[in-house]
């Protein structure tokens, strides 16, 4: 296995507030990593810095052997990093089919040397993407007709339509029922089985433990632990961060 994502010495400030402080993170190809931490610990900021939504002041993000410094979000998506947003951000005036069409047009078809899709092939791929998350029947509807879980699935379908090497799922299960959480976990594990590396950010510990092969813990912008899930949850420092002294 080779390293797919390498984050080194990452630092990000918002004014005087240090959101991330010297974060180191390595993710291997094909791995399922769980990223946890209390609210405000910098998880989403880390995701935003990896994806290029925010610019980090210190440190580097290296993806598939290439430094991503200075690249904008869409350039990183084209290199193979896809994400879902914590609060679903669908394209509201477009149908579900068109929602997944955009990453195909702008990512899959914009990659150099990649296979470019045309006309019917794009259409077929859009349907396939919605099929994968079980939204095929609603292909022509608008996002506002969807339920919460369907909205999360659309986020995942849109991220997957970009045919990424790395998928970052930012709290896709928040607010979902027990059965729905299981459904999403199964979906993520299936995607991982197809060769996609997955970073899952989550508060629902049951989901994290079930999904992750490795856990990394962020507290107040610092990574305090990284290792086997069963060891991490017993780590006194992690317990203290979550439960206090």
């Amino acid at each position: 296995m080779s390293t797919l994502l390498h984050v080194s010495g990452l630092g990000k400030r918002f004014g005087g507030f240090v959101a991330l402080d010297g974060v180191e993170l390595e993710v291997q190809e094909g791995e399922r990593l769980g990223l946890i931490g209390p609210n405000g610990s910098g998880k989403s900021t880390l995701v935003n810095c990896i994806c290029g939504t925010l610019r980090n002041e210190q440190g580097h993000v290296e993806f598939a052997g290439e430094k991503l410094d200075g690249l904008s979000a869409h350039q990183r998506t084209r290199r193979g990093i896809a994400r879902s947003f914590q609060l679903p951000r669908p394209f509201g005036t477009l149908s579900l089919l068109e929602n997944v069409r955009i990453p195909i047009l702008y990512t899959v078809n914009a990659r150099h040397g990649g296979q470019h899709l045309h006309g019917g092939a794009i259409e077929a791929r859009c349907h396939e993407m919605l099929e994968q998350v079980g939204l095929a029947a609603k292909a022509e509807q608008r996002p506002r007709d969807l339920t919460q879980i369907e909205m999360r699935k659309l986020e995942l379908a849109r991220a997957m339509a970009a045919a990424p090497k790395l998928l970052i799922a930012d709290e896709v299960m928040a607010g979902l029922s027990h059965a729905e959480v299981d459904e999403i976990i199964a979906l993520l594990i299936r995607l991982n089985g197809q060769g996609v590396t997955v970073i899952m950010i989550e508060h629902i510990m049951r989901a994290v433990m079930e999904f992750s092969q490795r856990l990394a813990v962020l507290v107040a912008g610092k990574k305090i632990a990284d290792g086997q899930p069963k060891d991490i949850v017993r780590d006194p420092e992690v317990v203290r961060a979550y439960l206090g002294e």
Partner: protein
């Protein structure tokens, strides 16, 4: 039983005839309108027709940025007047230059200004972008007002030839024909954008810019394309203006009417596709011309404002939106 709901519903983008038949149909309509005007033999018909068609062009141009990408541009008069004053300059420098060439030059200049302002202002979102475009209109107007060569605040006289080149007859017929041709080009472009990857990218930007970036859409580049196209077409619409009015001064070239109408027409007709600005242009422009003649030349200003208020309340998606909603309900 097979109902309508069972059928795959074509999404707005992929329905209807191809690009070439569409362009051919538009050209046929434009020629038919022009010939009808000639048969009528009434030069007022051409004067009124010119204004309506000009508004369709302006409205469609505005819609490429405002409707498709969701960036509201209030600086319409800046682009429009750049086209108009570029013609004044060429008229003075090389009086023999054919009008279509002036239209192209005016368009290119306005597109460049659009590109420049876009680069400086498109990092601003929502209302802040709109305010910046408003400032652009003021800046350009101030520059023109203080530029003596094009008449400054006094204005410039542009004497139009008595007879139209190529087609003969009154010169206004020639102006009208050029505006019709421009209208065909703009509408074909707008419709082509809607159906292309560009159109999907614009729509993604309009709906959620961060999500668009995450989906691989190069948002800044697309917004620059939209601003340049939109500004360029506005400049082209303005280029024949000096020949139409024969006397152009800053207060008429930068008249608020152009800005209000160019925004009101797509909003009334519908911003989601190319047909909206056409419906809005014909409806509002036609009504204005009618009222200008029958009631008063001041009352026509009221039309756009009143219709806009009515439509914002009863049909915020415009006339096209009204029909689309009905069609969707029927399914």
């Amino acid at each position: 039983m097979v109902s309508l709901a069972d059928k795959p519903i074509p999404t707005g983008h992929a329905t209807g005839i191809g690009q070439l038949p569409f362009a051919a149909a538009l050209i046929a309509i434009a020629i038919a309108l022009f010939l009808a005007g000639r048969l009528l033999g009434n030069s007022y018909a051409f004067f009124a027709g010119y204004v309506v068609v000009q508004y369709i062009v302006l409205g469609t141009a505005w819609n490429i940025l405002g409707g498709y990408t969701g960036y509201v541009n209030f600086g319409i008069t800046a682009f429009f007047a750049i086209g108009a004053y570029s013609s004044v300059v060429w008229h003075k420098l090389t009086p023999g230059m054919p009008l279509p060439v002036m239209v192209v030059i005016g368009g290119v200049l306005a597109a460049l200004v659009g590109l420049g302002t876009g680069y400086l202002t498109l990092r601003l979102r929502g209302v802040f972008f709109s305010i910046a475009t408003l400032a652009l209109a003021v800046v350009v107007q101030t520059l023109i007002t203080n530029w003596d060569f094009v008449g400054g605040a006094r204005g410039a006289y542009v004497i139009r030839p008595r007879v139209a080149p190529l087609i003969g007859g009154d010169y206004i017929q020639y102006l009208c024909l050029i505006m019709l041709g421009l209208c065909v080009i703009v509408l074909v472009t707008a419709r082509a954008i809607e159906r292309s990857a560009l159109g999907y990218g614009f729509a993604a930007i309009r709906d959620d810019e961060a999500a668009a970036e995450a989906a691989g859409v190069p948002t800044l580049r697309l917004k620059l394309i939209a601003t340049a196209l939109s500004g360029g077409f506005m400049g082209m619409a303005g280029a024949p203006l000096p020949y139409y009015v024969t006397y152009l001064d800053p207060s008429s070239g930068f008249s608020l009417n152009y800005a209000v109408n160019a925004i009101a027409m797509p909003l009334i007709g519908g911003t989601s596709n190319w047909l909206g600005p056409v419906i809005g242009g014909v409806l509002v422009g036609g009504l204005q011309e009618y009222i200008r003649v029958t009631i008063s030349s001041a009352a026509n200003v009221l039309v756009a404002g009143l219709l806009l208020v009515i439509f914002v309340i009863i049909a915020p998606q415009g006339i096209v939106g009204l029909f689309e909603a009905r069609r969707r309900r029927r399914r």
